[in-house]
């Protein structure tokens, strides 16, 4: 299990044990963490699972695919550390990961 901390826009923290192999998005949705909608269920088709990855974890969460990059390009409030959480696979190496959620996914 990897412990992932999701921090809502209002500061509410959710520390969740997520099974390796799931995505960071699935870890949130399956535990009913508010603020990650994931309309498309992980098909990289909607950009409603936008998160900000804590600076310390940017290297470990890997690179964005061209598809993810171009979806994020048009999402709202995008920052250099923005990611689509459906594209980050959880592994033991991500134990301790911290992600923050934007004010809105739309």
């Amino acid at each position: 299990m990897a412990k992932i901390t999701y921090i809502e826009f209002d500061g509410t923290e959710h520390a969740i044990d997520v099974k390796p192999g799931l995505t960071v998005m699935e870890g949130a949705v399956k535990n009913n963490v508010p603020g990650i909608d994931a309309d498309c269920g992980g098909a990289c088709a909607c950009a409603t699972c936008h998160v900000y990855v804590d600076q310390a974890w940017l290297d470990k969460t890997g690179d964005k695919s061209a598809m993810e990059e171009s979806m994020l390009d048009f999402a709202e409030n995008v920052e250099p550390n923005s990611r689509l959480s459906c594209q980050i696979k959880v592994s033991d190496a991500l134990d301790g990961l911290v992600v923050r959620l934007p004010e809105s996914q739309h």
Binding site: K30, C40, M67
Partner: protein
């Protein structure tokens, strides 16, 4: 105590444990609702995602656990009481109860109907043969999966999204696939001609056969199992299984019998409220307002189910309604990602942007200089920017839109 005002303690009953019903329960808890929730579903499974059934799941790339909206344990932890394999047979609006086939009576302050849609059947000879399948539920998908594999022949009646996705999955599993369509092109009711021809060519190049302008007369069988699809005129397409994908009907009967207004679905407002203020309806079963297009319409999509689940949950707890959304859809076939935003109502012009032959393009549907809809193939910027332009009702230059050397950001500026 019966509650009629919005409150966090109300008793909520949800009929239908699909994506819409399951999400309504989850959003209620996210919004701080603490009252009892009873979730009633006819299938033996907890709420799960249906879109992967024709795609990743069929190809063995997703399992039951990944399909589930929430893990089994979540329902008990969240205090959501389950009635699975349970059929609601009557709503008594006066007594505010739902009566189940088992005889159990469940009381509500607020009721959410999420009864979904069922696959349309073809009323032709042989429709009851084994191997004549639909694709709506996990059980349907299991049956279809069993019929696919190297050398197996799948006939698909209906060239809609379900049929095309299943054909693509069948090819990936080494099966033969023939799509039999009544109209002169696939996706006739749901996409423009450019897209229809593109998808037909793409499937054709990957070994899918097409029979268009087809008039299916009967399914032929031997020993109770389907062996072919017979056309008017006598031609028979031999197969080992048939997938019938010719649309769906909304399951309105429960609402209709209870006297709720129904017309092409259960009629709801932008709070997902029916003609009874204590009764909401969400998902595929509803006929809902589309403010951007100034009309009521029935949508079959996950984004619609989620949007309405949020609307109903927000109204029940007295929270501000969620923002309006532009309807959108997606489909994955082979290496193609199709994303559609909006609906082409009242459109008077089309602009094709990008290279159809290179499988990277978008078709914009315009009413004057306003984008009504965009169909994007492997073109996320066109989809994302298009969706925003539709929502904001921003006029665009058709010339700029047609020129792929001008970025979508510049078109939108």
């Amino acid at each position: 105590m019966a509650l009629s005002e919005a409150s966090l303690e109300s008793r909520v009953v949800i009929v239908g444990a699909g994506h819409a019903g399951g999400s309504a329960a989850a959003f209620l808890r996210q919004y701080g609702h603490t009252g009892p929730i009873v979730l009633i579903g006819e299938e033996p499974l907890l709420p799960y995602q249906r879109p992967p059934l024709s795609k990743a799941w069929l190809k063995g790339e997703a399992d039951a656990e990944s399909l589930a909206l929430k893990p089994d344990a979540w329902y008990a932890e969240a205090g959501v009481s389950l009635r699975l394999q349970a059929v609601a047979v009557e709503i008594n609006r006066g007594a505010r109860t739902v009566i189940l086939a088992s005889g159990e009576t469940v009381s509500y302050d607020f009721l959410i109907l999420a009864t979904g849609a069922r696959a349309r059947e073809l009323p032709i000879p042989g429709a009851d043969l084994a191997g004549v399948l639909a694709l709506r539920t996990a059980a349907d998908a299991e049956a279809l999966k069993g019929a696919l594999g190297p050398g197996k022949r799948l006939a698909v009646v209906g060239g809609g999204y379900v049929g095309l996705e299943a054909a693509a999955s069948a090819r990936a599993l080494g099966a033969e696939a023939t799509i039999i369509e009544r109209e002169s092109r696939v996706l006739a009711r749901v996409a423009c001609e450019t897209l229809s021809h593109f998808f037909q060519d793409y499937h054709g190049a990957r070994g899918v056969n097409f029979v268009l302008n087809a008039n299916v007369e009967a399914f032929e069988g031997a020993d109770g199992h389907v062996t072919g699809v017979r056309m008017k005129g006598g031609e028979v397409i031999a197969c080992d299984a048939v997938l019938v994908g010719v649309g769906a009907y909304p399951n309105v009967e429960l609402a209709q019998d209870a006297g709720l207004e129904c017309s092409g679905g259960i009629v709801v407002d932008l709070e997902a409220r029916t003609s009874d203020p204590r009764v909401f309806a969400v998902g595929d079963v509803t006929h809902r307002p589309l403010p951007t297009y100034e009309r009521q319409f029935r949508l079959e999509s996950v984004p619609n189910a989620l949007e309405q689940a949020k609307q109903a949950a927000a109204a029940i707890v007295g929270r501000a309604p969620p923002p309006h959304e532009i309807p959108w859809f997606w489909s994955d076939q082979y290496d193609l990602k199709l994303q559609i935003a909006g609906l082409p109502f009242d459109a008077d012009a089309q602009v094709v942007r990008g290279d159809v032959a290179a499988a990277k393009f978008a078709v914009f549907h315009l009413k004057g200089d306003l984008i009504q809809a965009v169909e994007a193939v492997n073109a996320p910027p066109e989809f994302m920017a298009g969706k925003q332009l539709i929502a904001k009702r921003t006029p665009v230059s058709l010339e700029k839109l047609a020129d792929p050397t001008i970025s979508m950001k510049e078109v939108a500026a």
